[in-house]
């Protein structure tokens, strides 16, 4: 029996798995990429992100000005105004060996975005380009900050 093809397929799958989960990124954009919104003054959308297991990122509001907070921003889209961004409560991660802690996010991260649609904006599909700046660490070390680019589609009704 010829085992070479199944072995090659297995190696290819493993390599692909490794490549997909390489350590260059630590946060992925999840969930709904499309939102139906209308011309009401304030609309809320919830953006879901997944922080890789065994990693955490800094929270949005930090006591230490040296650290890099997680920050969500968007490219300007005419007729669509970002009114406010609400981050979840941070998870307090204790620093082993002393009484202090870090404010972090880990696991599922959901960020609420309030936006206003101009009544002059025509009904249709609009793309909002977003950026999530974050700085990750694991239990042993920290990593350079990253910027996750993502897009959401807004269907204006």
């Amino acid at each position: 029996m010829n085992y070479s093809f199944p072995i090659k397929l297995f190696i290819l799958i493993c390599f692909s798995f490794q490549a997909a989960f390489g350590q260059s990124e630590f946060v992925t954009f999840q969930g709904n990429h499309c939102y139906r919104i209308d011309h009401e003054e304030l609309q809320k959308i919830n953006l879901s992100f997944q922080i890789e297991a065994n990693y955490h990122i800094q929270a949005a509001d930090l006591k230490n000005e040296n650290l890099i907070p997680t920050k969500l921003t968007f490219d300007k889209q005419p007729g669509i105004e970002i009114k406010s961004i609400h981050y979840p409560e941070p998870v307090k991660l204790p620093i082993q060996g002393n009484d202090n802690y870090w404010d972090t996010f880990y696991g599922d991260l959901e960020i609420e975005v309030e936006l206003a649609v101009s009544d002059k904006l025509k009904v249709g599909k609009y793309e909002l380009k977003g950026h999530l700046l974050y700085q990750p660490c694991d239990d042993t070390k920290c990593y350079f900050p990253r910027k996750l680019e993502f897009r959401v589609l807004l269907f204006i009704e």
Binding site: S24, N64, L67, Q96, G97, N98, N100, D139, F144
Partner: protein, 182 residues
């Protein structure tokens, strides 16, 4: 005759075992040479610390672990200053004034902070095949390294510590062992 043969074999095997153990114990990686400017633009080299123990922390101003560890690095510097131990920070890819403001002025270190503007020195310490997919200078971020009086790396937190060790307990344990045996 048979007894002599068996006895000789046992002695021979024991000698071989001891030799192999001895060989393992004396194999260390040499610390890579470096020469970097400090915050006063003075050149500081690894050679300047010949004959001394050297604790190196690889840091950035924004690294949370580096910030948490900073006071304890100063403690170590003070605790061991009369024991032929020196401490320094290698800051990676940040401008001098930024580092001065965010690290030196904030923590008031009594030891040098060296500026590794392109990250090559930090990268030179990175072991091979530890974390795939990362740049070598990033691999070393927040690491603590202990170099002995002969320039050998005797401790590297990336390899020798399971978790972040804010008070450098593991490194100090190793340092104390080396100071006793030195």
């Amino acid at each position: 005759m048979k007894f002599l043969f068996n006895f000789s074999s046992i002695i021979f095997c024991a000698l071989l075992f001891n030799l192999s153990v001895f060989a393992q114990e004396t194999t260390f990686n040499k610390a890579p040479d470096f020469s970097l400017p400090d915050l006063e633009d003075n050149k500081v080299s690894l050679k300047d610390f010949e004959g001394q123990f050297l604790v190196i922390h690889i840091a950035t101003t924004w690294c949370p672990y580096c910030n948490a560890e900073a006071p304890y690095l100063e403690e170590i510097s003070q605790k061991y200053k009369d024991k032929n131990v020196k401490v320094l920070i290698i800051d990676v890819k940040e401008p001098k004034l930024w580092v001065k403001d965010r690290l030196q002025d904030k923590f008031n270190f009594s030891f040098p902070i060296l500026l590794d503007m392109d990250g090559k020195v930090a990268a030179s310490f990175a072991p091979d095949d530890v974390v795939e997919g990362l740049a070598k200078d990033e691999i070393m971020l927040a690491s603590n390294i202990l170099i002995d009086t002969e320039g050998n790396i005797r401790f590297m937190s990336l390899l020798d510590s399971k978790n972040f060790d804010v008070k450098l307990v593991d490194l100090q344990q190793k340092l104390n062992e080396l100071l006793i045996s030195n």
